[in-house]
């Protein structure tokens, strides 16, 4: 019985403790004038990798800006305060988190990650005029003119295509036919749609798509089926690195010799670890693994120090916070999200981890909300990953 009582008492203490800290504002921060930015990201569950990267990028950026003295808005300097909640990558959870951020913590800026989470967020954030910055490749319908506060700050595979396809075409001139592999969900469908448009633009024959289940453990059957179509090139998107690697391994073992392109965020290290000598000929647009400029090196150092490890993908997302901060200064306000959104459209950043970064997409999406930036394409040859190409996406006219 004493155990039960102790248990209840312990629970109460826990509850009170969490209740106290769930209100957000840590003591000591109250004095400074702050701009609150909410993070609705999956920190646990299957898509945790991306959520953690996003969160790290924002936290690091906010810290750098705060160390600089904060953001100048009008005549006043403000510090950035990040409030993060975990939504496991589930839609209802993301709705709850968004409501909590907007209604209780009164944030006006939210960053999100993963399609399922973004979908849960938009229905709430748009009517509330909350500016959202996300990495999300699926749900093309939920992006554009009807969602004026919704910024897609990561290049989708479509934008990346304009960077890696020119590279692939020069590197492997013989490519005539390509097959696509993607997950069986909205992300996969939309990436296949992007891929089709790209292949048409670059005059490569599309051999169709194979979707895999998230529960798939072995990719042999799926790759066997794909190889029956006799492709010259395989594109897989948006697949997590592990799945990309498994697909590469299966394709090589089943006798496929051509390049495998994966515009999903990935590291050559992972692919090499999984595939070993079979990794040759893998093209990974997007992630820069060996920092080139001083600021890139600094960023990698800071991440290693602060988070113990530098998840490369976090580098890609690290520019959002600087862009937002600059938009605050330009707009001269952070209360009016409409003005900030307008200012954000014209922000051009030069020396980020991904080089030059800005928003574009007026022609393609009807609104200038799509982030575009230098694309670093990695290639694996002789069991080594190296930076094969850097180029700003050669966007089609009228994009």
């Amino acid at each position: 019985m004493r155990r039960a009582l102790l248990f209840v008492a312990g629970l109460l203490v826990l509850l009170i403790a969490f209740g106290a800290c769930s209100r957000g504002t840590p003591s000591g921060m109250i004095q400074d004038k702050v701009i609150k930015i909410g993070g609705a990201v999956p920190l646990t569950g299957a898509v945790a990798y991306w959520g953690i990267c996003t969160d790290q990028a924002w936290k690091d950026g906010a810290e750098v800006i705060n160390a600089r003295g904060g953001v100048k808005v009008g005549n006043q300097n403000y510090k950035l305060q990040i409030i993060t909640y975990d939504h496991k990558g589930s839609t209802p959870d993301a709705q709850t988190v968004t409501k909590r951020l907007i209604e209780q913590d009164k944030v006006k800026y939210i960053y999100n990650q993963a399609a399922a989470g973004t979908i849960g967020m938009l229905e709430i954030s748009e009517p509330a005029k909350v500016l959202t910055s996300v990495a999300c490749w699926g749900y093309l319908e939920h992006y554009g003119k009807d969602f004026p506060y919704h910024f897609r700050s990561e290049m989708s595979d479509y934008e990346q295509g304009f960077a890696y396809m020119p590279f692939v075409k020069t590197k492997y001139p013989g490519i005539k036919k390509a097959a696509f592999l993607g997950p069986d969900d909205k992300d996969g469908y939309d990436c296949y749609y992007s891929y089709q448009r790209l292949m048409k633009y670059y005059d490569v024959q599309d051999l169709g798509v194979e979707y895999f289940q998230w529960e798939t453990t072995d990719f042999y059957p799926l790759v066997t089926k794909t190889l029956q179509k006799k492709p010259d090139m395989i594109i897989t998107s948006p697949t997590p690195p592990g799945i990309t690697a498994s697909i590469v391994k299966a394709a090589r073992e089943l006798g496929f010799k051509g390049p495998v392109v994966s515009p999903g965020a990935s590291e050559t290290k992972t692919i090499l670890e999984v595939c070993g000598e079979q990794a040759d000929g893998v093209v990974l647009p997007v992630t820069l693994e060996t920092p080139q400029t001083q600021s890139q090196k600094d960023l990698a150092e800071r991440f290693k120090k602060r988070f113990g490890e530098f998840n490369l993908y976090a580098g890609n997302l690290s520019w959002w916070v600087y862009a937002l901060a600059e938009a605050f200064t330009v707009a001269g306000t952070f209360e009016d999200t409409t003005k900030v959104a307008d200012a954000l459209e014209d922000v051009v950043l030069k020396d980020t981890y991904v080089g030059t970064a800005r928003y574009a997409g007026e022609g393609a999406y009807g609104i200038k909300r799509q982030g575009v930036y230098d694309c670093y394409t990695m290639l694996i040859e002789d069991q080594k990953g190296f930076l094969a190409d850097v180029r700003f996406p050669e966007l089609p006219p009228g994009y």
């Binding site: 019985m1 155990r3 039960a4 248990f7 209840v8 312990g10 629970l11 826990l14 509850l15 969490f18 209740g19 800290c21 769930s22 957000g24 920190l43 646990t44 969160d55 409030i83 993060t84 909640y85 975990d86 496991k88 589930s90 839609t91 209802p92 709705q95 709850t96 988190v97 409501k99 909590r100 209604e103 209780q104 399922a116 979908i119 849960g120 229905e123 699926g138 749900y139 069986d184 969900d185 909205k186 469908y189």
Partner: protein, 343 residues
């Protein structure tokens, strides 16, 4: 017949009714007590949905089964109602009834073969049912919207009342929750409940006193699934967006966890468990990475150190703290909620 045996049947109706009324009055007043703060109302609505799911699942448990198809049936209700709204323009009021009927029909058809299996085999077979239901929503993309789900399932209007208002939806969800808890509570209190528990306790014996066990199993499964489907309908119109992922096995598993933590032997168990764990989960959100770890630890501690669940706390206190004589119900729930072997 003496006085005491009367209480067995009637169970002090006046007091019970009074408690129920007080509870409902508190729930009615709640939005105004919290000054209609919208986030808290949202949490309350989520709590209501969880109570609905856990309580209806507990109804199946009173026959000794745990259905992992429960979230699937919730999905059937959600999809039926959503399609009624999106394709036919009929509001939630039709959808919730249609959802319950469709859910009940499918549950009845499925449960006949399903009930041949037992214990852990039932667990897997019902899992298979739930998984196939979810996959069918994903597979028939044209009709059910596939993995991208269905959008803009708007809340209904009733005269001047628009349920897009969260306070209004709070009352709607509350009505469903009270209805479900009341139905399950009443069922459990009356002879139907005794029959269910008798099948749970000793199926062979109950069939030898003339109880058609299969019939009652199918009935309980059907009722519980229909209740889950009604919950699903309200869930769909509240969130305005559904996709098959919302109805996967984890939803069923969380309902199960709510029951276990709350307590297995009375209808108060699932209610307490759902309230407690949903709030804990919400409070843990700022702990970021550690959220799920702490949740797991709390779960293990409860199971190991509080075997009767939360519902047994008042009785434990009464029993040990004030040394009141044991009444029979106490013993029943302390006996580890039908945990065999605790003698």
């Amino acid at each position: 017949m003496n006085e005491k045996s009367k209480t067995l049947l009637r169970n002090r109706p006046s007091l019970v009714v009074l408690l129920w009324l007080a509870g409902i009055a508190l729930l009615l007043a709640f939005p105004f007590l919290i000054n209609q703060e919208r986030y808290i109302l949202h949490v309350a609505i989520v709590v209501f949905f969880n109570i609905c799911l856990a309580t209806s699942m507990w109804l199946i448990w009173s026959l000794g089964f745990v259905s992992f198809a429960h979230a699937g049936f919730m999905g059937i209700g959600a999809y039926t109602s959503a399609l009624f709204f999106l394709r036919l323009g009929l509001p939630l009021w039709f959808g919730v009834i249609a959802g319950a009927l469709v859910g009940a029909l499918i549950a009845m058809v499925v449960s006949l073969p399903l009930m041949r299996t037992r214990a852990v085999y039932f667990f897997m077979a019902s899992w298979a049912v739930g998984e196939v239901i979810k996959r069918i929503f994903a597979y028939y993309r044209g009709f059910f919207g596939g993995w991208e789900g269905l959008f803009r399932i708007m809340p209904p209007k009733l005269g001047p009342l628009d349920f897009a208002n969260r306070t209004a939806y709070y009352y709607l969800a509350m009505v469903l929750m009270v209805l479900i808890v009341l139905v399950v509570y009443r069922l459990n209190k009356t002879r139907t409940g005794w029959i269910f528990w008798s099948i749970h306790e000793a199926e062979v014996l109950s069939s030898h006193v003339g109880i058609h066990a299969l019939k009652y199993k199918v009935a309980a499964f059907t009722i519980a699934s229909a209740l889950a489907a009604m919950t699903g309908a309200l869930y769909a119109h509240y969130h305005t967006y559904i996709n098959p992922k919302s109805f996967d096995i984890w939803t069923s598993e969380f309902a199960l966890v709510h029951i276990i933590v709350g307590g297995l032997s009375t209808a108060a168990g699932p209610v307490l468990g759902a309230v407690f764990l949903t709030i804990i989960d919400e409070l843990l959100r700022p702990t970021e990475f550690y959220r799920i770890v702490i949740f797991g630890v709390i779960l293990i501690l409860t199971v190991l150190f509080l075997p009767g669940g939360l519902e047994s706390i008042p009785k434990r206190l009464r029993l040990r703290l004030w040394k009141l004589p044991e009444d029979k119900d106490t013993q029943k729930s302390i006996a580890g909620a039908f945990g065999k072997g605790r003698k």
